[in-house]
């Protein structure tokens, strides 16, 4: 060890000994890395320390009623999740699949037998998790925008939709622990498995037989003929040199590609841009396609639905009039609400005025593919 290293080590050891009980000023002395990093202030920690643990550590005080939750739900949640949390249009349903008996046992019975799509309520084992989820990540297009009381209210409304609490219910920090005991799948989780630790015990133990091994040579499952092209033409997804080529799946009569042809999602962005021209590519890069389909509703209306409405509206049939373009561009940049049900679109300030006008002109023209 060189003299320099020895000296540095000694200094580090002294710093370590001195630093154990030090405050902010002392911390720099304790650190191996002089001048790097700084103490977090209490306000900074509060600003980010939003997690609520299973035992409700981190839960802020507050309350919210089912009635208030319903108002928020209709305005900000129903466009994705459906009026009753039942929608399967955008995300998996929130509500459904649980019974009164499940509330008694705390294990959702349909999970053992059913091939039904799982709902949030079928899986939910911890009310802290629901609360934390809504606070950190919802609404979908404006996460972290709900107040603490509104998070309580939306949680209360979800519990009401699941028939766990009455319409008069108010959820609060005082009763949330008791309320959790109503969750239909509160006893439905397990950590008894070998996949948590590197040294965990595997579920299965295959053997490395080399010759005349037992195997089943019967084909049990394969891609049916009608679905050959469901992922697009595989000839265009493989290199065109080497020992193989992609199979040309596009000329099959039973092509499933048509089912996806007008849906912007599900195709790579570049292919989308090549196939569909610039405006759709622009809509993709500006984030519009996260909420709008080309010709169908996702979170917000499809672009062609918008075009159809305004074309049929009071614009004298002149769908692409400058006034309409300006109106739509304004809605993109500044946000809008109430035009398509109770949901709202936040302002999209990241879209430049030029891009907003290009998008608006394209929408007003009927959102054509080319």
């Amino acid at each position: 060890m060189s003299t320099w290293n020895r000296r540095a080590l000694a200094a580090a050891l002294v710093a370590l000994a001195l630093g154990a009980a030090s405050s902010i000023a002392g911390a720099e002395g304790r650190s191996r890395f002089a001048g790097i990093g700084r103490a977090a202030t209490p306000a900074e920690i509060d600003a980010w320390n939003i997690d609520v643990r299973k035992d409700f550590t981190g839960l802020p005080n507050g309350s919210g009623s089912v009635a208030r939750g319903e108002e928020i739900w209709q305005a900000k949640c129903a466009s994705c999740h459906g009026t009753f949390g039942e929608s399967n249009e955008v995300f998996n349903p929130v509500i459904g699949g649980t019974t009164v008996d499940d509330v008694r046992t705390g294990i959702v019975k349909s999970l053992t037998t059913s091939e039904l799509q799982r709902t949030t309520m079928m899986k939910l084992s911890s009310l802290a998790t629901l609360w934390d989820y809504i606070r950190r990540a919802m609404p979908w297009n404006a996460p972290k925008s709900l107040s603490v009381d509104d998070v309580y209210a939306v949680s209360a409304y979800i519990l009401n939709l699941a028939d766990l609490v009455p319409a008069s219910f108010v959820l609060s920090d005082a009763n949330i622990r008791e309320t959790e005991k109503l969750l239909p799948n509160r006893n439905g989780m397990t950590t008894a498995h070998g996949l948590w630790n590197v040294g965990g015990k595997p579920d299965v133990a295959n053997t490395a037989c080399m010759h005349n091994c037992e195997t089943d040579l019967k084909i049990q499952s394969f891609i049916p003929e009608y679905a050959r092209n469901a992922h697009g033409n595989l000839a265009l997804q493989n290199r065109e040199i080497g020992g193989t080529r992609g199979v040309d799946t596009a000329d099959d009569a039973h092509s499933a590609a048509a089912a996806f042809a007008t849906v912007a999602i599900g195709e790579p962005a570049a292919a989308r841009a090549r196939a569909s021209g610039e405006p759709i590519a622009l809509a993709a890069t500006q984030g519009c396609l996260a909420c709008h389909g080309i010709d169908r509703k996702l979170v917000g209306p499809g672009f062609r639905e918008i075009a159809a409405r305004y074309r049929n509206g009071g614009n004298g049939g002149n769908a692409a009039s400058d006034a309409l373009v300006s109106q739509l561009a304004g809605k993109i940049r500044n946000g809008t609400s109430g035009s398509w049900g109770p949901g709202s679109m936040p302002a999209q300030a990241q879209v430049s005025a030029t891009n907003a006008e290009s998008l608006a002109r394209w929408i007003a023209a009927g959102a054509p593919s080319q």
């Binding site: 990093g37 980010w48 995300f91 010759h211 499952s221 697009g232 020992g243 992609g246 790579p268």
Partner: protein, 443 residues
Amino acid sequence: MRKPAERPGRLQRAPEFHLTDDDIRTARRRAFLTQGVALATLGAATAIARATDSPSGDDAILKLPAHSTTLGQPVAARAYGSPSVHEQNLQRRESPGLTRVSAASVAFTPLQGLFGIITPSGLHFERHHQGWHDIDPAGHRLMIHGLVKEARVYTMDDLLRLPSVSRIHFIECGANTGMEWNNVAVPTVQYTHGMLSCCEFTGVPLSALLDDCGADTKKGRFLLAEGADGSSMTRTIAMERAQDDVLVAYGMNGEMLRPENGYPLRLVVPGVQGISWVKWLRRIKVGDQPFNTKDETLHYVDLMKNGLHRQYTSIQECKSVITSPSGGQRLIARGFFNVSGIAWSGRGKVKRVDVSADGGRNWRTARLETPVLPKALTRFSIDWTWDGSPALLQSRAIDETGYVQPRIRQLREVRGTRSIYHNNAIQTWRVSASGEVDNVHLE
């Protein structure tokens, strides 16, 4: 079943919309020039047919192409280089119908076209829960707090000043191959296994930062890692893992992380499913219990046959797949092939890979290409001469713990078919007499 190409090795037909006008002109010229030139023997057809354009030889040799006789482009014509125009087929792609909103979706890595073990940065798979952002690194902060002597904040300046390490690791989504639990659902290795990438990551060992904050590593048995995006992804990491090989990474394949992969900062948790590699990392909290977050309670939980959900399933067990030839491809001719694929284990190094061409009845041990690194992809290959008869190709990896990659039947017996996550079963590719390869389940 489709007919085999009559003259394997010749220019393949492709839909015209895919070709540029120049491509089409070139193709038509070649087709015209090769008219009337018969392939001499069956042998010539089963070997790669050389397109002999004239009696004296191959026009690709005899006639100098423009690139041999004209001036090429200058340096820095493309200041940030990109792949050849002839490689545009290999792209990240979504699986139609898998998700309905592309900001909460997956784009799969085209494993069918990759070599070696490193995933090009632009082809690294994507999984976002609420869209991605290109975050200004000047405003990005990492906070470490909780059971620490001092809660601390680091800027990107701070983190890039610290001693760094660079390590090659695979990242695999826990849901990789999840569509295939019950039956064959997708056609190619891009969709069966493409939520998988492997890169060299550069960053600071998390243990150094925990030391710097004076983390209580005895009482603080668990960490919460949180992202700065809209979903503020959170996952629990065991302190034992954090002190082992976890990195707070800013580099990927020699440059900064790509925005889709967490620019400017992400967690690298070797051997553990991708969801724990929190992107746009903003906060680490040291605590004494697991945090039971949304993505370890409502999502990324594995439904078992008895109706219980497994929580904190994290380790990606030993797995392998043949990438060439693989589903959705067609062998262009009989004869020699270098069957090649990748193997990996979240528990360490890959020790051995065996390959079968008869559906698992008989196996031969494949070559492992170097480097063979812990918790990284390992490339394997084996010689194979295709005689034109149907075959069932499989690979089976064994890791340094002795664990042998299982058959799907074995996994189903324990876990049922609805768990979505952690399907590391042996993959079967069926080779038909036509040379076409497709995805099948044997059991």
